[in-house]
């Protein structure tokens, strides 16, 4: 692995192309492409079981991919794992700690095994995240276990942060602290891959976003890039209802109620529709850009109306522990 030289800063931090991963007969990733530039915060968005954790684990060299190429920080995640791990920190969505080690011990241990801990930063983060580091691992709630992993990751001097749904179980106050910390890391030049199904979190932090669905990245770009794919929601108050718009190309879901008309417009048809609106006597107008929710719905909408195959989706191995717990509960309950 070349850790020096000009190539280091030009190559993307993460470059995945055409990666496939099978668990027996189940395909978790099918031809996944993902590129994360140096220094950017990249949102990795997708529903449960889409393959986010599998991708993270391949980047960590914990799972081996079956086809395609993966490069991270100029190295191979499987064969250069140890050298690469000195430069990255990882926070899983389901942190498990040793029951008889304290949180403080776990924080120090992880950071030291990574290469070193910034003691001042560690203490500052413990303060900011409001964690009692003297408690034993078994006594922490899920949110506190997440804090332990987050503090340890953020207190080490990493070039790359791999965060796999890192704030699961954190309260909104801590979520804000987390966002501050990620911004600080970005300002310090750290590359961040942040996976989530919490759309607001990604929207706030990410420079670019990739949307994964059934083991394939279906969209990738800035929030701006992705918005053109979706529909703007328009609400207009006019003297006469705008019912005649219902048949126009690019207009969807039109609801007219008294003077209020609400509809969605495909981005490409928005200029034409706006020109039409000008001919009417518009008294009030709001146009809302699509939220990530709507982006997602557009990609998964066909599924939601169908049988909803989400639960059986590939890659559920990535969150195996949770899956197992859930299924056990079901067996008992039924």
């Amino acid at each position: 692995m070349s850790s020096t030289g000009p190539a280091r800063d030009e190559s993307p931090a993460i470059d995945i192309s055409g990666v496939t991963k099978n668990y027996g007969k189940v395909t978790a990733l099918r031809g996944l492409d993902l590129e994360v530039a140096r220094g950017e915060v990249h949102g990795f968005l997708g529903p449960n079981g889409a393959g986010k954790s599998t991708t993270m684990r391949i980047l960590l060299g914990i799972l081996r991919h079956d086809a395609g190429t993966v490069r991270m920080l100029g190295g191979d995640p499987w064969s250069d794992a140890v050298a690469l791990h000195r430069r990255l920190a990882y926070v899983p969505g389901d942190v498990e700690l040793w029951p008889n080690l304290t949180g403080g011990e776990a924080i120090d241990l992880f950071a030291r095994l990574r290469g070193g801990v910034d003691a001042a930063k560690r203490d500052e983060l413990i303060e900011r995240f409001d964690l009692d580091p003297r408690k034993k691992g078994r006594t922490y709630s899920k949110g506190n276990r997440q804090k332990v992993a987050l503090i340890s990751a953020l207190a080490s001097e990493a070039d790359l942060l791999l965060l796999d749904e890192p704030t699961a179980g954190l309260d909104p106050l801590m979520e804000v602290v987390f966002q501050e910390c990620v911004r600080e890391a970005k300002d310090a030049g750290v590359t961040v891959l942040l996976s989530s199904h919490i759309l607001a979190q990604v929207e706030i932090l990410a420079d670019r976003i990739s949307i994964i669905r059934k083991g394939t990245v279906v969209e990738s770009g800035t929030l701006q890039d992705l918005r053109h794919l979706s529909r703007t929601t328009v609400t207009a108050s006019t003297d006469k209802p705008l019912t005649e718009l219902a048949g126009r190309q690019g207009v969807h879901d039109l609801h007219a109620e008294g003077q209020q008309t609400r509809f969605e417009v495909d981005a490409e048809h928005l200029p034409a529709i706006m020109r039409d609106l000008a001919a009417h006597d518009v008294q009030a107008l709001t146009a809302t850009p699509p939220t990530l929710e709507q982006l997602l719905l557009r990609h998964y909408g066909d599924e939601l109306s169908g049988a909803g195959s989400n639960g059986n989706d590939a890659g559920s191995n990535g969150t195996g522990t949770r899956g197992k717990v859930r299924s056990t509960g079901n067996e008992v309950a039924s």
Binding site: L88, V95, G104
Partner: protein, 558 residues
Amino acid sequence: MTTATERPGGAAPPQASARQRGALTGTGTLLRFMLRRDRVRLPTWVLGLTALWAYFANAIGAVMDAESLAGMATMAANPVMALIGGPGYGFDDITVARLVAGFYALYLMLGAVLMSITTLSRHTRVEEQTGRAELVRANVLGRHAQLTAALLLAVVMNLLVAGLTGLVTLGSAIEPPPEAGPSLLMGAGIGATGLAFAGVGAITTQLSAFSRAGSGIAGAVLGAAFVVRGIGDMSTAQDGGIGWLSWLSPLGWSQQTAPFTLDRWWPLLLSVALAVAGAAVGYALQTRRDLAAGVLPDRLGAARAAAWLRSPFALAYRLQRPSLIGWSVAMVLAGVTFGAFAQPMQEGAADMPEEIVAVMGGTEGLLEGYLGFMGIYFALIVAVYVILSVQSLRGEEQGVRAEPVLATSVSRSSWLGAWTAVTAAGALWLLLLAGLGQGFGAVLGTGDWGLFGPVVLGNAVHVAAAWLFLGLAVALYGLAPRLVGVVWIVFVYGTVLSLFGEMLEFDRAVLDTSPFQHVGQHPAEEVSWVAVGILTVLGAVLVGAGATGFRRRDLVTA
């Protein structure tokens, strides 16, 4: 939970009785669920024990003619044999059935006990530890339903073992053909020990928030039960004054039924009473503690990691330390106890008939033969420690605690290597402690300091066999993690050969396949350094194979 009703929407029964029944609501559903979860495990245990018993019951009859049976009787009257076998009822007029009941049944009892302890732990504490119990308890389910269902499951398993081993005894091809009553008593005795320890398990699973610690305490109780009855039986064999010790042990109760000799059923009432008492204490403790908590409260610990906790090796040591401490205490106690018994045993030998002493290699050889044989015993125990350690390594991986460590700059080889090295050193440490304890105990009795060094050495060199098991377990872990349990089969095979092989008159070639066979029972025999070297190298090669396999495979979670 206290106001739980039988079924949502059902007619509300009066409050008081509802509370009582409420604690057990859902037990039946849970039991069915446990049976479904254990659809492979339950038959494996029950049929495995039955098959082992069928083997003992038939093989001994097949290899023994009248003459060798008489020889066995003389040998079995020896105090060492009493220690590892039992009180030997009816051995003065021995039959195959009496030999089987008086000597080999003990090992089936140990099997039934382990079955009960692991069953209780698996269905109570492990469920709480993983958080699954919380999900289950959130349904219409009584506070004691889980423990009750686990106990019922253990009862079912032990009844099956009792019935099947009884029938196997009845159907075994031995002379004279076994009668029905004693045969069934034989099986009942085996099942009763399992039942008694289900009661013990009901208590020990409450004590610690950890399944491993709870099982460890139950294992310590088992060890104590074994040693106490062993000393009692030894004393009885020599007409000593402390034969009553056997009556303090659940293993002893079943042996005191003396099938095919006295045929008394009443000692089994003690086993049933212990099971009931244990369950009652378990319920009481459960009422007083929170879900997922132990009886002892958690204390705050260090806010920072100690300066030395900075390598995979240090982590492995830190994680194995609590169990290593427990094992260390047990080894020292057992070592001193067995060592201290060397002198009384030798004195007893002076009163023994000459021919018995001759069988054990003369008055001189008796002491050293005993001390050397105990080395094998400790080697077996340490092999158990080693196998359990590798299994808990698998627990680290499945419990997703390996993943964050391997996401740091710790390579897979150093993670696996560090754990293996700590366990290998731990095995040597434990055998040294056992040797020191046994040597000290022996010197205490005999006053002969010349024994000390040889006894310590005799125990320590057996570490080579333990290392071979370590290698085997690590190789399975790296190459085929699902099959780690297979190492137990090899262990049982080696145990049977080493403890009973010579009595069962196996060929030398077969005996030599046991890893415990080669180092030599020092001080009775010379230490074979060649064997020590070969076993060690073999173990190291297997560890290497395991490490290679582990580097190539995916991590397995859940």
